[in-house]
Symmetry: C2
Subunit: 223 residues, 2 copies
C-alpha cells in the first residue's frame, strides 16, 4: 500500500502556535511550500555559546526536506557536524509584499508572507543525497540551471557541507489587504493605503569572457 | 570637551570575526548604517527554552541604537521585559543584489549586503524615548511619514513594547562583482553572469474611504 500521502497541514506545536495575531497563522502545506519556493535567501538561526546567531544563507526545498549548504569550515556547519544530535535551528523565510500606511501611527503595518521552520539540522553524508541537494540549491536560485553548469567534482564536493532540515514543525504567517484604521480616524486628512513592494530581476549581465556561442539560455529569458 | 566622536569602525569581536570569507567582512560604520537604513524588515533571533527562534520584524535606526517593537504580548518582548538582564539577540538585515551564475555549480553565488548585530535588547521605558522610537519606526518604513499621521495615544503607547539594541558588536558582509570561475572552466559552453535583483515599489493603492482632499503626499511620490 506504500506510504500514506502527507496530510495537507503541518501539525501545530507549542512553538508554532503564536501568542498573538493567530488569524494570520497557517499550517497549510501548499502555502508553506509556495512561500519557501519563492524565497532566495533564508535566515538561519542557531545557538552558539548560549547566544543566538542569525545568518543569511541560500536554501532549497526538496519535498519535505530543506537543504542549506556552506563551506565545511563555516561555524553552523562545523557545529552540526561535530554532534551526533545535530544542530537545533530555526529557519525563516520572509517576503515583504507591501507597506501599509494607516492614518494612525499605531496601525502602520506591513503586508508579508513568512515561514518559520523549527527543527534539527543534520549533515548530509550520503553522496547521492548530497549531489541531489546541491542540484536543488542551484535550481532553487534559477530553475533549470543545475542541468546547465559543470557539476561539483570530488574536491568541491568534499569542501561543501550540506545540512538537512525536515519540514515538520512549521508555520506560515501572512498579512494581506488594506489599512485597518480605527473608525474615529477615518475622517483624518492623512493619505492612507498600501505601497506594493516587489522583488524584480534586472537584465542579465554576461561575464566578459563567455565562451563563443554561449548565448543567454531560455530559462533566464523567462525570469 | 563633550563626548568624543564615534570611531569610524566597529571594534571586531570573537563573534564578528568570521571563520571564512574574511575579505567580505567590514566593520565600517557608514557602510553598516547604509545597509541598515535601506532595509525594511530584519530577522531577530533569540533563544527560547534553549532553542533558537528567528522572527521577521520591523526595525529602525536612530544613531547608534536600533529599535524593534511589537505587542506587549509577543514572546520576545515579554521575555525581554521579564528580565533585568535584557534579552540576548542577534539582529540581521540582508539585501539580495544579484544571482551569480558561474560555469561550475560550485561557484554559484549571490551578491548581497548584510549586517549582523549581536547584543542585548532591553525594553524602552522612558516615554520620550519610546515616542521617538515609534516615530523612527514609521519613518524607517517611509521617510516623512511620522509627521503625517496621528501619533499613538496613551492606550496605544501602553500596548506597544519597544526594545532597544545598541550598535556595538556589529559587522557587515558584502559580495559584489561578477563570476569567479576556475580558469579551466572558462571555455565551457555555459552562459555565465549576474542576474540583478532589486526591490521596487509599485504604484500606491489608496484606501477606498480616504477623507476628501487626502491627496498622495510628496514623500510617497518620490518612492
Amino acid at each position: 500500500m506504500g506510504t500514506p500521502p502527507p496530510s495537507d497541514v503541518y501539525e501545530p506545536t507549542d512553538r508554532t502556535v503564536p501568542t498573538r495575531s493567530a488569524h494570520r497563522v497557517s499550517y497549510d502545506r501548499e502555502l508553506v511550500h509556495a512561500i519557501l519556493d519563492e524565497g532566495r535567501v533564508c535566515h538561519l538561526g542557531f545557538v552558539r555559546d548560549g547566544a543566538p546567531v542569525v545568518l543569511p544563507t541560500l536554501y532549497a526545498r526538496a519535498g519535505e526536506r530543506l537543504y542549506v549548504h556552506g563551506s565545511t569550515g563555516s561555524r553552523p556547519l562545523r557545529s552540526a557536524g561535530r554532534s551526533d544530535d545535530g544542530l537545533p535551528v530555526c529557519l525563516t523565510v520572509t517576503h515583504v509584499d507591501g507597506l501599509v500606511l494607516a492614518r494612525s501611527a499605531f496601525h502602520h503595518s506591513v503586508n508579508y508572507r513568512s515561514v518559520v521552520v523549527h527543527g534539527t539540522a543534520r549533515p548530509v553524508t550520503d553522496e547521492q543525497e548530497k549531489r541531489a541537494a546541491l542540484d536543488a540549491l542551484v535550481d532553487h536560485a534559477v530553475p533549470g540551471r543545475a542541468a546547465d553548469c559543470r557539476p561539483a567534482n570530488a574536491k568541491e564536493l568534499a569542501a561543501t557541507a550540506v545540512l538537512r532540515l525536515d519540514l515538520a514543525e512549521v508555520s506560515a504567517k501572512v498579512r494581506t489587504g488594506g489599512v485597518a484604521d480605527e473608525p474615529e480616524d477615518l475622517a483624518l486628512p492623512h493619505w492612507a493605503g498600501v505601497i506594493p513592494v516587489r522583488q524584480r530581476y534586472g537584465t542579465p549581465v554576461a561575464a566578459a569572457d563567455l565562451a563563443p556561442g554561449a548565448a543567454l539560455p531560455a530559462y533566464l529569458m523567462a525570469l
